[in-house]
Symmetry: C2
DNA sequence: TATACATTTGATCAGTTATTCAATTATTAT
DNA sequence: ATAATAATTGAATAACTGATCAAATGTATA
């Protein structure tokens, strides 16, 4: 029987290290927000949308064509990106044009691209 | 009845734009790989592990204490990060010490931190 | 005002994921 | 050898997620 359920049983291997890391880590709440940001880019459909909007402002219909998923699916994902303020939109006649709203997104995608291309 | 199921019905709003974007977008396969990378950082537990390893090389037991989840849960997540070559490990006695294996991860976390702090 | 088009929305369903639990492996010390 | 500790693993389960379908909003044009 091991101490699987416990949080590392009663034993800590290196207390000083643990203290040091605990002192330096950002608040857990911030980590959660960051995870949420990464999650926004963690789906191929959403990431493809963002990659497209990196190039051009696009309406929902054209996004659907480019990303090759249904308009409904695109719209659902756009809502999520909207809620997270990753994209913004403007209405023009019947169309709704989406574009990127955040410069950090560009940098994240650039770094991730480097990663997969190396 | 709308054209929900179709891929943007038969109509494209701006064919030139669509062509331009399609020509410039990276291969879909690359987008998938990038999404997988983001997914690795899209969970609070995993992100917390990575943030900790950014500061110090740590054994599983101490990671468990710091991240405040069971050793088993930590180990499962470490396996995923190992598979993705985001972390590496070395054995020393009964302990297994994990550390970061990828410089891009540092940059991704730095950018995401800026994002949530702004 | 009808009609068509572009988009949004809510419900549902299948597939995925993170944790827990129990058992196992590996290493060290007695 | 035996016991104890550190870590890994596989199965089971509950929660989450992304796509589809059907229906409902706008918005513009005939």
């Amino acid at each position: 029987m091991s101490a699987d359920n416990a949080i590392c049983s009663a034993i800590i291997i290196d207390q000083q290290k643990v203290d040091r890391v605990n002192k330096t880590l950002p608040p857990a709440e911030e980590t959660k927000e960051m995870a949420t940001l990464f999650k926004a880019l963690a789906d191929p459909t959403r990431l493809r949308i963002v990659q497209s909007l990196l190039l051009e402002e696009l309406c929902v219909c054209d996004l659907s064509t480019i990303v090759k998923v249904s308009i409904s699916a695109i719209s659902h994902q756009l809502r999520l990106l909207r809620t997270m303020r990753i994209v913004k939109y403007r209405k023009q006649g019947k169309q709704v044009y989406y574009s990127l709203n955040d410069e950090h997104i560009t940098q994240l995608i650039r770094t991730a691209t480097e990663h997969v291309r190396e």
